[in-house]
Amino acid sequence: MIGRMTMMLGALACGGAALAQQGLGSQGNAMTVGVMQDRAANGPAQALFVEKCAMCHRQMGMGTVILSRRMPATQAMLEQRTDLTGDYVRTVVRTGMGNMPRISRGEVSDRQLDTIVGYLTERRP
């Protein structure tokens, strides 16, 4: 299990895509934007998401930052989405989307992708 390792800084501490906008949308030099990404996980499925996806899809990840430009704040953090389907996640991972590169099966196996899909779709109503 991946242990809790950091606290998020300041405005980033509340969670949500708006935070990415707060962190990057205001004044200041991009070289000194501080971010301590929450790397915690509960259970193996979330741990796999953290290992494979969180670097870009949690707070201040490249994916979160770019997604927050074109969708509502609550949509930019994948773990807060309730509308993701398995087919959609699989397609985006394997074919890429916008600035997201394709993720190879060497990096994320089909079985691992099934686990991540399960985690990201469990919040569907």
């Binding site: 990057l24 200041g28 971010v35 790397r39 394997r94 190879s104 099966r105």
Partner: protein, 509 residues
């Protein structure tokens, strides 16, 4: 160049490492292509194989030799500005080492032995979970491999930021399939493999950097003991010409060891391209004009140039270094000089200056909206202010000539300066992509005319850059080829890497 039918080899690969680890569908081949390319098919591999152990790497190499099939080795394949996972020679089989993820840390000595699949976030998590008092040095975009980045001579922002210089001991699969360990690792059971670089006789670690002479399956690296304090300044400069005196000031501090990290002095676009998109500033084509530059600087409250200086270590030492830095900048006009101070027990700065991995800087791929990317152009020059200014003026003129937005920094080595440029582009704009290629060739020509060479380059330009290292009629290139042919007689390992091609084999220039 021609590559033989790889299908018989794929069968043997599948028998050796399992069919589930051999990938050759169109979707798989696309996943190992150059993600930033206008035409991803130019460097599309024929297949990819992902072994799970050094023994499996050895077996793959033996099979590749039997079938004369070229392999293109990647660690994690995230070096996007330089071609990502894609091979120089189209049709090569990508040897993807991302499944090799072992981490062995010697806490007492401050060293780590990593396999190539270990990313910066993996190693960071490993250290944090165990609460080890060790800091990483990470590049500005930290999703890549720790070993791969060091082997490609990547750089970070702490005193351990010259990553290739921190290498201490390798395990390497040679092109014949034999396994060697370098330095003290050549002695079975040595406790000094990650402690003493040279061993006895010739040292080979650097031979496997940016080369195609072997496949590194383990890499020893020195880590920075957690400092007691990190002090520094974030400095903004108002005028373009401030670059000259600032380079002379900082270079002296770097030579003397007052500053032991590699500061990077960059322009306003570094902030704007990460935090915003171009359409927020202008609808006009061509390089950004003065109005937009002024608006960007005002919005982010930044200078034409910015630099971050940091000193690390015991508080007494860091404070003493800060006093020297103060004296060095005394009486010199800066726009802002904001002090930074961290001491043990506080939350770290949360940037690469404190070894924290981040990925958001690559949001600059979205600068033009749509599907973007960048290509790196990074010539090395002497750490002198007058030469830095001249370099800036010539390069800036080329950005304007080709209608590209100036995105550059000057990174301080101990004796040299690397002018890191990122040409930010929209890969769905064919006209722009054509200009990028022409501009890149012009930039290389300009650097060569001044005696400067690039330290690293994209797969499209490896032959071009190698050709600029031309002393003695290209004597270095001849030496590289002699070594290549001796170690890899069938020419199967990463043909074309760094402009090194085999004389014989399935893929040769």
């Amino acid at each position: 160049m021609s590559i033989p039918d790889i299908r018989p080899a794929l069968k043997d690969f599948a028998a050796a490492i399992g069919a589930q680890n051999v990938f050759f569908s169109d979707e798989d081949r696309a996943a190992y292509s150059d993600h930033f390319a206008a035409d991803e098919t130019r460097h599309r591999p024929g297949a990819a194989v992902a072994p799970g152990s050094a023994e499996e790497v050895q077996e793959i190499v033996r099979i590749a030799n039997r079938h004369r099939v070229p392999l293109w080795t990647i660690s994690r394949g995230k070096n996007f500005g330089y071609g990502g996972a894609a091979p120089v020679a189209k049709g090569s089989v990508v040897l993807d080492l991302t499944r090799l993820k072992k981490i062995e840390i010697d806490e007492h000595s401050g060293t780590v032995l990593v396999e190539p699949g270990v990313g910066f976030f993996d190693l960071y998590d490993h250290i944090q979970q165990r609460k080890l008092p060790l800091w990483l040095s990470v590049p500005g975009n930290s999703w890549g491999s720790v070993a791969g980045n060091a082997l490609d001579r990547g750089v970070g922002y702490t005193p351990f930021g010259d990553h290739a210089a921190q290498i201490c001991g390798l395990e390497v699969v040679l092109p014949t399939g034999d396994l060697v360990r370098t330095g003290m690792g050549a002695m079975a059971g040595s406790p000094n493999w990650q402690l003493y670089r040279n061993g006895f006789g010739p040292g080979w670690d650097q031979m496997f950097c940016q080369s195609n002479f072997g496949i590194v399956t383990k890499l020893g690296l020195w880590l920075m003991p957690e400092p007691e304090a990190v002090l520094g300044y974030d400095i903004e400069f108002d005028k373009i010409d401030d670059l000259g005196w600032a380079v002379d000031t900082i270079a002296a501090l770097r030579r003397e060891g007052v500053i032991r990290q590699s500061p990077s002095m960059g322009n306003w676009l570094r902030s704007a391209a990460v935090m915003t998109t171009r359409s927020q500033w202008t609808d006009s084509k061509g390089a950004l004009g003065e109005d937009a530059i002024t608006a960007i600087r005002k919005r982010f409250n930044i200078g034409w140039w910015s630099v971050q200086l940091r000193t690390y270590g015991h508080l007494d030492m860091a404070e003493a270094a800060m006093r020297v830095i103060d004296r060095a900048f005394d009486g010199k006009a800066v726009l802002a000089k904001k002090p930074k101070r961290w001491s043990r027990g506080e939350t770290p700065e949360g940037t690469p200056f404190s070894g924290v991995p981040v990925t958001f800087p690559l949001a600059n791929a979205n600068w033009h909206g749509g599907r973007g990317g960048h290509i790196g152009y990074s010539p090395v020059l002497p750490a002198r202010g007058d030469l830095a200014m001249a370099q800036f003026r010539r390069t800036y003129a080329l950005y304007e000539k080709y209608g590209m937005d100036y995105h550059a920094s000057f990174s301080f080595g101990e004796r040299s300066l690397t002018n890191v440029n990122q040409l930010l582009f929209d890969r769905d704009d064919p006209d722009m992509m054509g200009r990028v290629d022409a501009m890149f060739r012009d930039l290389v020509r300009d650097a060569k005319a001044n005696g400067y060479g690039e330290y690293r380059t994209h797969i499209d330009y490896m032959d071009l850059v190698a050709s600029t290292y031309d002393f003695g009629g290209g004597a270095l290139g001849k030496l590289n080829r002699t070594v290549k042919d001796a170690l890899d007689p069938n020419g199967i390992l990463s043909p074309g890497k760094s402009g090194i091609w085999p004389s014989h084999g399935g893929a040769r220039a």
